[in-house]
């Protein structure tokens, strides 16, 4: 497999995962907003911090109003991580390796892009937002399903799997980290449950949590579920296992060594303590290790593509 193609596959999967995760996050936030007391000033600033884009935002906008933040996260092409930019990048990347994917993949990614380019503006309106973003998620999931159902588990597939899970693990720790910080003031209020529930919602984890853990969203249980559950596909541990199986199919030993440390960290964590203090540092640590892993993956597999040039990066995360 060509190094350049491997790199584009990896990033295409990251872009699509980021687009979907951001869409889910925005949807969950919009819904949660409706549960909050009307006088409460909602932390739009906080949402920007979750995705690590607060600084980038303030270079372009003055005030973090709902309109500005939504526009920035959903459709602003100046934001390298906006849903639309991610979809556009994913499409551009897909164009460069159409030959390695099942034929419809390109068509579906292209259709996702065409949908996004005509509908994103509607998502600024609260009434339409849910519908448009849900359609983005649906179309992205269709691509995932298509690949799962029609593509050989070859190297190309493994690179997409790597990209998807590195991105997803990163997003999970970010949502956890920041939602927790935002929610801290409500620790002892009537909104306590809602707050932890909203974390679950932001990661589309509430239903599986209820089914496998319980109805009440208790701090340490939520943490254990989102960080260490083996079965839930958005938990950090599950993502790491996915990365592990993808690496098993690829040459090179260094990425695997890098992964092992992270796995032990997650498996050995004490979630009761973390629910009280140290969660921020813990999440930071995981994010730094994910960035290291990304670096090692680039060095191991993509370097042949351009020995001097920097590899593709999304400025906010890695």
């Amino acid at each position: 497999m060509l190094a350049r193609v491997a790199e584009n596959l990896y990033w295409m999967a990251r872009y699509l995962e980021r687009a979907e995760d951001t869409a889910r996050l925005v949807n969950a936030t919009t819904l949660m907003l409706m549960d909050m007391p009307r006088g409460a000033s909602f932390g739009w600033e906080g949402l920007l911090k979750v995705v690590g884009l607060d600084e980038a935002f303030h270079r372009l906008y003055d005030e973090a109003s709902e309109t500005a933040v939504m526009s920035f996260l959903i459709q602003d092409e100046r934001n390298p991580s906006s849903i639309f930019t991610c979809v556009r990048h994913a499409r551009e990347n897909t164009r460069t390796f159409r030959e390695v994917l099942p034929r419809e993949s390109w068509e579906w990614v292209n259709e996702l892009y065409l949908y996004a380019s005509t509908h994103m503006a509607h998502a600024l309106d609260r009434r339409k937002r849910l519908e448009v973003l849900t359609e983005i998620i649906r179309r992205r999931q269709a691509v995932v399903g298509l690949l799962a159902g029609t593509m050989s588990r070859d190297e190309a597939f493994q690179f997409m799997r790597l990209g998807r899970n590195v991105e997803r693990a990163d997003m999970t720790t970010r949502v956890l980290d920041v939602s927790y910080a935002i929610n801290l003031p409500y620790q002892n209020s009537q909104y306590y449950d809602i707050v932890w529930m909203s974390v679950l919602h932001a990661l589309s984890a509430h239903q599986m949590y209820r089914r496998h853990v319980g109805v009440r969203a208790t701090g340490h249980k939520v943490l254990a579920f989102l960080l260490n559950d083996v079965q839930f596909p958005r938990s950090v541990r599950h993502c790491l296992h996915e990365i592990q199986s993808a690496l098993d199919e690829l040459p090179g030993a260094e990425p695997m060594r890098c992964l092992q440390g992270m796995l032990s960290l997650v498996e050995g964590a004490d979630f009761r303590t973390l629910a009280g203090r140290g969660l921020h540092e813990f999440c930071d640590d995981i994010q730094a290790r994910l960035a290291d892993l990304n670096e090692v993956i680039s060095r191991t597999y993509f370097r042949a593509a351009h020995p001097q040039k920097m590899t593709q990066t999304l400025f906010s995360l890695v």
């Binding site: 350049r4 030959e99 593509a305 351009h306």
Partner: protein, 484 residues
């Protein structure tokens, strides 16, 4: 809107579907009936569906313009062009004959040059050739074949004669659109295919693969084959990636490849370097190897020519093939066929006047308003003068160009290209078409069933190039004269 062949306004020339209003040609009756029975709103609905399908499939080509490069969707017309199998058989034989002679010519030019010594081909044409490559002298590609993929442009004149207009031997494009057009037609009018025996076209990519595999320097079941593209911003990038995908080949850019001291070509992969056997290059000669050709090229691979000349890698089309893709050399193809094969050309050339010959040049200059003047080495319809549509000023300008460099110009009478009914703004109107079949040669020959029919979408226009507002149609080679 309805497609009503009975009230179709013929243009006076040769129409591919109708002999006269209401009178379909052999094989076209079923098609006319089908369209006549199709309710108007149904046709429009299907037309919209096909536009959406083209958009979704991202079938695009890039148009270079001053305002930047625009990715345009492929303009496709729903009315197919039909050719009876019996007529096609003759054309196919003519195409093989022509490519066989052209390959003998190229091989001769880079070796003994018997054809010049024997006075059949003038040495001065070669001396002025822009596409002759010194570096290719003495090279011995497999099977002595240089041009493996040829896109021959055919046109039909008013009296029904099919002529060869040009031989595209460098990096001819368009075959992916031929394949896509058929896919679209099947989606759009499945019931039509039940009425007709249309010869399938989708065998092409398998044939292309086998043709390329035969060029592999290493014995083995699965040679490593790659399509070399200039990259995503090339106008034919869609086709490059399409062909790579269909053949299960790698799609590479110059920077993905490296030639090592052993003169073999390697791909940069996730596991390091992997040897490459055959390159289907879609990069012009001048750019493929900065060590030999343009040193400033970032599209090529340093050392590629070295590897090719030593037989360590197969390249299609071979570097230097373009020497026979020249509108002046074209005029000598019937002579080549006689000289190398001892046969008469099955497909005639369009009568051509070479400005390098004084008498012919005088004739051209005196008749600029009636002729089409073409530069020898341009492609894509650039730099042409279409006499009957030109202004006095343009003609004066061309006369100067011709006098300054007569070798670089040739002229042909303006043909009244045949027409095919075409769905226009609000009616079915005749539009001029040409036909580009694709011919393969390495170990064996292969000719596509039909080819890409390009259509000049503007009324009366003769320019079919997609870069200049042309569209395309599906082309049907139909078995038997009466459809069931």
């Amino acid at each position: 809107m309805k497609i009503d062949c009975g009230h179709y306004p013929l243009m006076g020339g040769f129409d591919e579907l109708l002999e006269a209003p209401g009178k379909p040609r052999d094989g076209a009756g079923g098609l006319c009936d089908f369209f006549a029975e199709l309710p108007a709103d149904e046709l429009e609905a299907r037309h919209r569906a096909v536009d959406a399908a083209i958009m979704a499939a991202g079938i695009t080509f890039t148009v270079y313009s001053e305002a930047g490069n625009i990715d345009r969707t492929w303009p496709f017309d729903v009315v197919p062009r039909i050719l009876p199998k019996a007529e096609w058989d003759r054309i196919e034989a003519g195409l093989k004959q022509r490519l066989a002679a052209l390959n003998r010519f190229i091989d001769d030019i880079y070796h003994e040059r018997n054809i010049i010594r024997d006075g059949v081909f003038p040495a001065e044409v070669l001396a002025d050739s822009k596409n002759f490559r010194e570096a290719c002298i003495g090279a011995n590609p497999p099977f002595d074949v240089w041009a493996h993929i040829c896109g021959t442009d055919l046109v039909r004149d008013g009296d029904g004669t099919v002529y060869v207009l040009e031989d595209n031997l460098r990096v001819p494009s368009g075959v992916s659109y031929m394949l896509e057009n058929r896919q679209l037609m099947k989606r759009l009018f499945p019931e039509l295919f039940a009425r007709y025996d249309v010869l399938p076209v989708d065998d092409y990519t398998a044939q292309l693969h086998d043709m390329l595999a035969a060029l592999s320097p290493r014995a083995g079941e699965r040679p490593e084959i790659a399509v070399l593209t200039p990259g995503i911003y090339n106008s034919a990038y869609f086709e490059h990636s399409y062909l790579a995908q269909q053949m299960g080949a790698h799609l590479v850019e110059g920077s993905d490849l490296v030639v090592l001291d052993d003169d073999c070509v390697y791909m940069k992969t996730i596991e390091g370097l992997t040897r490459l056997d055959v390159i289907y290059r879609r990069v012009d000669d001048e750019f493929i190897d900065p060590e030999v050709f343009r040193a400033d090229s970032a599209l090529g691979v340093p050392g590629l020519m070295r590897a090719w000349k030593q037989g360590k890698v197969g390249i299609a089309n071979a570097p230097g093939s373009g020497v026979a893709d020249d509108k002046v050399v074209y005029a000598y193809v019937p002579d080549m066929i006689r000289y190398y094969l001892g046969e008469e050309a099955i497909l005639p050339n369009v009568p051509s006047y070479l400005c390098m010959n004084e008498a012919e040049c005088e004739y051209v200059l005196a008749n600029l308003d009636k002729l089409v003047v073409k530069p020898a080495n341009e492609s894509g319809g650039y730099g042409m003068l279409v006499g009957p549509k030109s202004t006095a000023e343009e003609r004066a300008q061309f006369a100067e160009l011709i006098r300054a460099n007569p070798r670089n110009y040739m002229a042909q009478p303006t043909l009244s290209l045949s027409t095919v009914p075409t769905l226009c703004e609000d009616a079915i109107e005749p539009r001029h078409v040409d036909l580009r079949p694709f011919v393969l040669q390495s170990k064996d020959f292969y000719v596509t069933h039909g080819g890409l029919t390009r259509v000049a979408l503007r009324r009366g226009s003769l320019v079919v190039n997609s870069s200049q507002g042309g569209g395309s149609k599906d082309t049907w080679i139909v078995q038997g004269s009466t459809p069931c």
